[in-house]
C-alpha cells in the first residue's frame, strides 16, 4: 500500500521511488529501407536522487535516449513513465507542459537566446509556466546567485565566457525546480577548468537530493556520477557504480582509471564554489 503510493506519486519523498521508468524502449528513425534503429530495446529505471551518467561512443543513441527521457520525442515502441506518469503517447502540447514542469535541460551548445539578458534567459521557462513577472524575477535572480552569477544578471550571452554561459543555462535548468536535470554533453564546448566547474555543480545538485542524468561520450565526465550506464549501438551494455564499470571493463578504461582523484578534485571545486 505504502509502496504503491510512493511509486505513483510524482514527488514521493522516498529516495527509492523511480523517477524514470523505461521498459522495452525502441526508437526507429525513418521508414522502410532507409530506416535507422537508434535504440533497440532499453530497460532503465532511475530513482529519485540518483546521479546517473549515460556513456557511449558517438552514434550509439545517447541523444536519442536523452530526447525521449526529456519528452522532446516519443518512443517508437515500449513504455516510458516519468514521475509515475505514462508519457509515451502524449501529444505535443501535453509534452511541452511535462517538459516545463519536470525537466531541466542543459545542452552542449548552451542554447541561450542571444538577444536576452542572463536574467531573462533564466526567466524563460517560468514564462511558459505562467508565473507573474515578479515571481519570475525573484526565482531567476535566486537561481543565478546560486551558480555564482549574481553580478552578471544583466549581461547578454555574448558578454559572458563559455563557462559562464553554461552556468546561466544551468540556472535556467534549475529555476523551475524540475524533477530531473538532463544534460547532454554539457562540457562538450568547455575548456577543462570550466568543465570541472560545471560538473562540480551537478555534483552539488546531486548532494542536494536532485535527480541528475548526464549524457557524455567521455569517461572522465561519466565517472563523476554515482552510477554509470554504458550504451553501444542502441542497447545498454553496462550499468553500475563508476568504480565497477571502469575497472570491470578492464583494458578499455584502464587508462581512464584515476577516477578517484578526478572526483576528489571536483569535490574540492564544488566546495570552493559552494554558495553562502
Amino acid at each position: 500500500m505504502r509502496r504503491d503510493l510512493a511509486v505513483r506519486s510524482s514527488y514521493g519523498s522516498s529516495n527509492t521511488s523511480p523517477v524514470i521508468e523505461i521498459r522495452g524502449l525502441r526508437k526507429t528513425y525513418g521508414e522502410g529501407e532507409a530506416s535507422v534503429e537508434a535504440i533497440r530495446g532499453i530497460d532503465l529505471v532511475v530513482n529519485e536522487g540518483e546521479f546517473l551518467s549515460v556513456m557511449a561512443p558517438s552514434g550509439s543513441g545517447k541523444s536519442t535516449l536523452m530526447h525521449i527521457i526529456g519528452c522532446l520525442d516519443t518512443p517508437t515502441s515500449g513504455s516510458y513513465r516519468l514521475a509515475g506518469r505514462d508519457v509515451s503517447h502524449l501529444d505535443e502540447a501535453e509534452l511541452a507542459s511535462i517538459r516545463n514542469q519536470y525537466i531541466g535541460f542543459v545542452f552542449q551548445q548552451f542554447h541561450l537566446l542571444r538577444h536576452l539578458s542572463a536574467l531573462s534567459n533564466v526567466e524563460l521557462p517560468l514564462v511558459y509556466a505562467g508565473l507573474t513577472p515578479n515571481e519570475r524575477r525573484i526565482r531567476a535572480t535566486e537561481a543565478l546567485r546560486r551558480v555564482g552569477l549574481g553580478d552578471r544578471m544583466n549581461h547578454r550571452p555574448t558578454q559572458l565566457s563559455g563557462g559562464q554561459q553554461q552556468r546561466v543555462a544551468i540556472a535556467r535548468a534549475l529555476v523551475t525546480d524540475p524533477t530531473v536535470i538532463l544534460a547532454d554533453e554539457p562540457t562538450g564546448n568547455l575548456d577543462s577548468a570550466s568543465s570541472e566547474e560545471v560538473l562540480g555543480w551537478f555534483g552539488e545538485f546531486h548532494r542536494a537530493g536532485r535527480t541528475v542524468v548526464l549524457i557524455t561520450h567521455e569517461p572522465d565526465v561519466a565517472k563523476v556520477a554515482s552510477r554509470v550506464v554504458r550504451m553501444r549501438d542502441g542497447v545498454i551494455v553496462g550499468d553500475g557504480p563508476p568504480e565497477l564499470i571502469f575497472v570491470g571493463t578492464g583494458t578499455t578504461f584502464a587508462a581512464a582509471n584515476p577516477a578517484v582523484p578526478v572526483i576528489k578534485g571536483l569535490d574540492a571545486a564544488g566546495g570552493k564554489l559552494e554558495p553562502k
Partner: protein
Amino acid sequence: MMSLRETLRASIEAIATHRSRSLLTVLGILIGIAAVIVTVGLGEGSQAKVTAAVSSLGSNLLVVSPGSSTGTGGIRGGLGSASTLTIADATALASQVDAPDISAVAPVVQKNEAMSAGGNTWSAPVIGTTPPYLGIRSRQISFGNFITQADVTSGNEVAVLGTQVSAELFPGQNPVGQTVNINGSSFSVIGLLASAGSSATSNQDDQVIVPITTAQSLLIGGGSGTSVSQILLQAKSQNSISAAYQEANALLLQAHQITTPSAADFTITPETQLLSTATSVSKTLTFLLTGIAAVSLLVGGIGVMNIMLVSVTERIAEIGLRKALGATPRAILRQFLTEALLLGLAGGILGVILGIGASLIVPKLTSNPVALSVPAIIGAVAVAAGIGLTFGVYPASRASRLAPIDALRGD
C-alpha cells in the same frame, strides 16, 4: 500558459533585435499604405473640388442655352449670340401652373464692358438679369440691395458689383451709393455681392449685375432686343430636377412651335449632369490609383511572408529551445502571429506618417488638393495589420509545427 503581455513582449523583443530587417520587411506595406493615403486623398480632394465648383453655380440648377446639342448639324445658332431664347420664354417658364416643379427663373444676358469710376477703369462681364438670379446662383449681398422687380420693369440704371470690380473701381471704399460709368451710361451702385470665389469656369467676383431690361436697351442693344443668352432655372428640390427638365422642355418646344424634340433649338443642362460627369472622371481615377495601391499592398504582404519565413528558418534554434522549455505549438504560433501583426501595424503607422507627409507636399507640386480622411487612415492601418496577420499565418504555423529535436539540432 503564456499571457498576452508576455507574447507581446517577446514579439517586440524579436522585432527590436532585428531592427533593420524588420524595417525592410514592412517597407512594402509602408509604401502601399502611403500610396493608399495619398491616392484616396487625391481622389477625395479633386472630387470635393469639383463638387464645390459645381455647387457654387447654384443648387438644383438647370441651364437653358440657345442652340441644340442633339441635332446632327451640331450646335445651331451661335451660343449666346443671335439667340433663340427670349424674355417671353423665361416668363412662360416662370408659370406655376405650366411648370410647377420650377421654383425660380432668371433670364440672363451677358457682355464684357469697359467701365470707370473716378479715375479708375476696369473691364468685366456685365450680367443683365432679374431678382431670382441671386437665389438661383446662391449668392449673398454684403452691402446695400440686389436689383428689384421694379428696377427691371422701369429699366433703372442701377448696378450691383462683385467684390473684385468694387476693389478695382472703388479701392478701399464702400461702393454703395456711388456711380459707375458703363459703356457711356451712368449706373448707381445699389449693392455689393459677397465674395463667392472663382469656380472652375469663371471668376464669380469679377462681374457686375444690372436689370436685364437696362442691359438690353443700353448695353447690348441692336435688333436682338428681347433675346437672352441663358435662362437659369431652379428646380423645387433635388428630386424634382428631372420633372423640371420635362416641363421646361415641353414648354419651350411648344413656345418655339417645334414638333420634333430632336429639332429643338435649345439645350437644357441639369447641374447634376455636370456634377456626375465630373465626379465619374475622378472616381475612375481614384479607382485606378486605389487598384495600384492595393497591388503594392499585396506585394508588401508577400514581402512580409517571405521575410518571416526567412526569420523562422533563422530562428529554428530559438523555436526549438522555447519548445524544449515548455512552449506549446500554440504559444509559438501566437508569438509569430503577434510579430506579423505588429510588423503590419508598424508598417501601417509608418505608411500613414509618410502618406500624410506626401499629402502635404503633393498639393504644392501639382496644385491638386489632397483631402486627408480619418476613416481612410484608420482603415489603412487596420488593413496593414490585417495583411501582416494574414501573410504571417503560414510562417507562424510552420514555426509552430517544427519538431523540437529538429529545431534544437539546427545550429
